[in-house]
């Protein structure tokens, strides 16, 4: 049976999560990452109004924690992670500091981008993380980084995270084609959460077979239930390894679902774009609860262990808030200069300065030839 949003809900409660065969440490780390991410998102949502000190659009990840959890365990420091706007999970997966994320959302000088980017456009070059809010925009960039990594003979890979909406864009398919054509070390990670804001996939795409369509370009694809954290991790680990070995790009489509509205702490269910039963299904098949159940059964986690974990997480979140709120706002001296580089060192080193020459203006203008 082909996996799709329809068949997933139809097949009832998900019961296939397994922690057997997985290293205990890894399972704990996956779990802790998801819990940390969710608590971080919930704290931000709680704090957002009425304080209104976070003054930018924020696209929360609640419900979609397992893909970034998996990535957090397989991404190397030297790998590049690209993302769209729903990026908190990917940012943390790259081990970027929570403080830098919060301060950026608070528009402070100490934010990852000094208050220039905000949540949806955040980047952190020191950990090779780059996000941006124009859908499908970073997919082509990731492909280019993969091209560059291959040219340099690097064993690092480029990973690009996006939603199924990115496949509405032509630029997405251009990027996929080039990745296959040049056999590039890029891992495409699609979190198919069914909705582009209010609009469901079947209203926008002629066929619900994204993996098959990508596969038709010559990419190896994997379509998985995205709330099964160990299965997601397993697939990502396999795929990253294979991409790293130079066998070309791989595409993973992880079916998942966001609990909250498209943007902001405010819900948007009053728009009536999605069935209550659908949301209920996905909440009941939450990636954290599914894994947690197995971990309790196996004695891998207890209430005590969880309490310690939560204390640590909550302390980190509180610290991030305190840091953000107490950080200064940025100032501007020269608006134009912020858009250009002050560095001319390479040209300084390699090029002589020009001296004026004469020009004979009576030469013939060229008549265009075809090539």
């Amino acid at each position: 049976m082909k996996l799709s949003h329809e068949t997933i809900v139809q097949s009832g409660p998900y019961s296939e999560v397994s922690i057997e065969g997985f290293d205990k440490e890894t399972v704990l780390k996956l779990y802790e990452f998801m819990v940390r991410l969710r608590r971080c998102e919930k704290a931000l949502m709680q704090e957002y109004h009425p304080a209104d000190e976070i003054r930018c659009p924020v696209h929360f990840t609640v419900g979609q924690e397992s893909v970034s959890a998996g990535l957090s365990q397989i991404l190397k420091e030297s790998d590049y992670m690209f993302s769209h706007h729903r990026l908190h999970g990917y940012f943390l997966a790259k081990k970027a500091p929570m403080r830098a994320l919060f301060a950026e959302m608070y528009g402070r000088e100490t934010g990852a981008n000094g208050g220039k980017a905000g949540s949806q456009d955040i980047s952190m070059s020191s950990v090779n993380f780059f996000g941006g809010a124009i859908v499908a925009g970073t997919v082509g960039i990731a492909v280019g980084t993969a091209m560059g990594l291959k040219i340099k003979g690097s064993s690092s890979i480029a990973v690009t995270g996006f939603g199924e909406g990115a496949a509405d864009e032509g630029a997405f398919w251009e990027a996929v084609n080039y990745a296959v054509l040049s056999r590039l070390p890029v891992l495409f990670v699609c979190e198919n959460n069914l909705y582009a804001t209010f609009s469901p996939q079947h209203k926008r795409q002629a066929r619900d077979n994204l993996s098959a369509r990508v596969g038709a370009f010559g990419v190896e694809t994997h379509s998985i239930f995205g709330n099964d954290a160990t299965a997601v991790y397993d697939t990502l680990a396999y795929a990253a390894e294979k991409v790293r070995s130079g066998k070309g790009p791989i595409f993973i489509e992880a079916y998942t679902y966001r609990w909250n509205g498209h943007v902001g702490p405010e819900g948007d269910d009053d728009v009536g774009y999605r069935p209550a039963a659908e949301l209920k299904y996905w909440k009941q098949n939450c990636p954290i609860h599914l894994l947690e159940k197995k971990m309790y059964e196996a004695g891998l986690i207890t209430d005590e262990i969880l309490d310690v974990m939560l204390e640590k997480i909550d302390a980190e979140i509180a610290d991030a808030f305190a840091f953000a709120k107490s950080s200064p706002f940025p100032d501007v001296e020269d608006w134009e200069r912020m858009n250009y580089s002050p560095d001319e060192s390479l040209a300084d080193r390699l090029l002589l300065d020009a001296k004026p020459v004469d020009f004979d203006q009576y030469q013939e203008f060229a008549i265009p030839k075809p090539y």
């Binding site: 960039i141 134009e336 580089s341 390479l346 390699l350 090029l351 020459v357 060229a366 090539y371």
Partner: protein, 326 residues
């Protein structure tokens, strides 16, 4: 003195910069074939190979995004668009990513991508093979925009942009490709934001862009016969704009005309006039004049082309009328 054509000069610039830095790539449709985009990329593939000289698919958007991505790992891609009109597919990559990459990263990350865009003119290129759009690109923060007129300038500006850290668009008008100047063999730079001035006449400043430079120089010579002595300001780049030299020139002459190979409305000519008037409006002896393309797309028929594009005769006519009125 050694002379090269505009096209040969671009070719030499690319050879030299690819020798100077292993990080330079050339991407574009048909760049690896012998015709080499009007002779500008001929021979590069044979010397530098398929990793560095890539015949890219007809996917301008992905090509531009890929260039950004490659620059993040230290490469310096040069993109070649055989016709500027084709690069419209890549506007999102340019506007939403390339131009603002440095800004949004708070200066921590740059994208040193150079885009070469060739502007068609004549022989019935028509509305979809003739656009220049230098004004659009100059309006966008974060890009450097050059409109070189001479073989000498194009090599210098191209090397400067490829070895510089900012994204740059070099707009090359095809009509100039066979024109020669002396071109030094050594790698050299023409800096952005540096206009150059031909002549020392103090009656009139002719401020011109790209393909209008030879026209301006011809007009200046014709004006001498009418006892009007002009100095010709070749802007060479629009972003940054050499406001200082423009104003210096007009401060001397008190009269200026702008020749812009773009549409009149909302274009570079308006910006230049504004830049001058903000400083010198009270000192001008005549209202500014501009001669641009009419606010119309470009026709194909040679009869219409002849009416569409300003020539030295039509520009001279406009200037003489203007001076008599004033």
């Amino acid at each position: 003195m050694r002379e090269l054509t505009f096209a040969e000069s671009i070719n030499e610039a690319l050879f030299q910069v690819m020798d100077l830095s292993n990080e330079v790539l050339v991407l574009g449709q048909l760049v690896d074939y012998q015709p080499g985009v009007f002779g500008t990329t001929t021979g590069l593939f044979e010397k530098f190979g398929k990793e560095r000289v890539r015949d890219f698919p007809v996917s301008e958007s992905a090509m531009t995004s890929a260039a950004i991505g490659a620059s993040l790992v230290g490469l310096r891609p040069v993109l070649v668009h055989q016709r500027l009109d084709f690069m419209m597919y890549s506007l999102d990559a340019i506007v939403n990513w390339l131009s603002l990459w440095r800004f949004k990263s708070n200066g921590e990350s740059g994208a040193p991508v150079t885009i070469r865009a060739v502007v068609g003119k004549g022989w019935g290129q028509g509305p979809q093979h003739s656009k220049s759009l230098h004004s659009w690109f100059a309006h966008l923060p974060g890009l450097r925009v050059a409109v070189p007129a001479t073989a000498y300038d194009v090599k210098g500006l191209l090397m400067e942009s490829i070895l510089g850290e900012d994204p740059a668009i070099i707009i090359e008008n095809r009509s100039l490709f066979s024109m020669k100047t002396h071109v030094p063999e050594d790698p050299y730079r023409v800096r952005f934001g540096q206009a150059c001035i031909f002549g020392k006449g103090t009656d009139l400043s002719i401020i011109c862009i790209g393909v209008m430079v030879p026209v301006a120089l011809r007009v200046a010579a014709m004006l001498v016969e009418k006892d009007i002595r002009a100095q010709v300001v070749d802007l060479r780049s629009l972003s940054p704009l050499d406001k200082e030299r423009i104003c210096e020139s007009v401060a001397q002459t008190r009269r200026f005309v702008v020749l812009d190979p773009g549409w009149e409305a909302f274009g570079a000519s308006g910006e230049i006039i504004s830049v001058v008037c903000e400083e010198l409006a009270g000192e001008l002896e005549a209202n500014p004049l501009r001669v641009c393309l009419p606010n119309s797309h470009t026709p194909m028929s040679s009869a219409l082309e002849a009416m569409y594009y300003p020539t030295e005769d039509t520009v001279l006519q406009r200037i003489l009328e203007w001076l008599n009125i004033n």
